[in-house]
Symmetry: C2
Subunit: 194 residues, 2 copies
Amino acid sequence: MMVEAPKTESRKEQIYRVAITLFREKGYIASSMRDLAKELNIEAPSLYSHIKSKEEILQKVCFEMAETFFHGLNDIEKRNFSAKSRLEAAIHSHINVICEHKDAVAVFLNEWRHLSQPHYSDFVQLRNQYEEKFHTYIKFGVDKGEFRVADVNFAVLTILSSLNWTYNWYKESGKMKPEEIASNLSEILIKGIS
Amino acid sequence: MMVEAPKTESRKEQIYRVAITLFREKGYIASSMRDLAKELNIEAPSLYSHIKSKEEILQKVCFEMAETFFHGLNDIEKRNFSAKSRLEAAIHSHINVICEHKDAVAVFLNEWRHLSQPHYSDFVQLRNQYEEKFHTYIKFGVDKGEFRVADVNFAVLTILSSLNWTYNWYKESGKMKPEEIASNLSEILIKGIS
DNA sequence: CCTACCGATCGGTAGG
DNA sequence: CCTACCGATCGGTAGG
C-alpha cells in the first residue's frame, strides 16, 4: 500500500491515516484490526492504547468529512451570487473536498451504514442537511428563472451523484485537476451535453 | 425484511432472492450464512445442499446483472437513431434494469469488489465494455455535431454515475415511474438545468 | 433437511 | 509497546 508519511505525525494520526487507506481498499468490515496493525508493524492489541475501538475510527472519518463538506459551503452562502455562480461555487467546493481527501471520502460515502446508533442517525441527518443546501441553491435558481427543472429534489440527487463519483477515478497525478473537473461537471449539469 | 414470494419457486431460487435482499441491507461481508439461513427458517449447513458457497451467490448476481444491462442495449444498436435518441434509449434501458432489479443492482454496484479471481477481473472487464458502449453513443453524437463535450470519457462517467444512483431512492410504490425517471435524467444530462 | 463439529479469525482485555 | 488469551462468530464439512 502506498501512503506518504508526513514528517511530524503522532502514532494516533498515523493509525487513522493508514486505517483510511485500508478501509477504502478492502471495506470497513473486511478490514481487520490485525490487518491495520500489520501495516504499522505493531501487534493488534497495541492499537488500543491509541484508539478506543475500530468503530471510533469510522466515526471520526465520517463526521470529520461531513464537517469538511459543510465548511466549504460557508463562504458561498454569504456572497451575493447569481444562482448559476452559486451552484458553480458549490460544485467547485464539493469537488475540492473530494480530491483533497479521496480515500476518506470513499470511506465516508460507502461505509457510513456500519455506524452504530446514535451515530448512524446523526450521520444520516447531516447528510440530509447537506442535500438541503443544494436544494436551496437549485430552488433559488428556479425562482429567479435561471434554472428549469422538472423536480428540484431529483435534480439535486442527479447533481450530487455525479459529483460524488469523482472519488472513484480522480488521481493527483492525472492530467485533470480539481478545478477542471468541477468546471466540466458544471458545464454538463447546467448546460447539458447538447 | 419484506420480500414477496413468487408462487412456484425452488428452494435455490428462494435462497438467491433472500440473499440479495440481505446483501443489499447489510453488505456482503457483514451478511453471514447463519443470517441467511435464519431468514429461511433452516439451519446454516442446509444451505449447502443447494449452493456451493457464499461467493457463488455473489458471482451469480454480479454476472447475471451485467448480462441484463448488456441485453437492454441490444435492440438500440440495431436501429438508426439520431445520437440523441440513441442515448435516450440507452438511458431508458439502463433505468428500467435498475428499477426492475433494485436490490440485485445494489449488490452488483457495491459488492463486486469482493469477488475472488478470476471473477473479479472478468467482472471489471465487462463493466469497462459496458462503459465503452456509452462512450460510442456519446462519440457518435459529438461526431455528428449533436453533442458538445469537453471530454467524452468524462461525460460517460458523469452520465452513468447519475443513472446508477437511482437504485438508492427508487420505490415501486413511489409516484415517479421508471419512464419518468429516465426522461428527467435525459433532460438534465442532455439539456442541463438551465 | 438436521446435529455435531472443524480450524480460522474476529474485536478486544488483562496485565505487565 | 508486548504476550497471552477471551468468548463470539465465521464459512463450511462429515455423516446421516
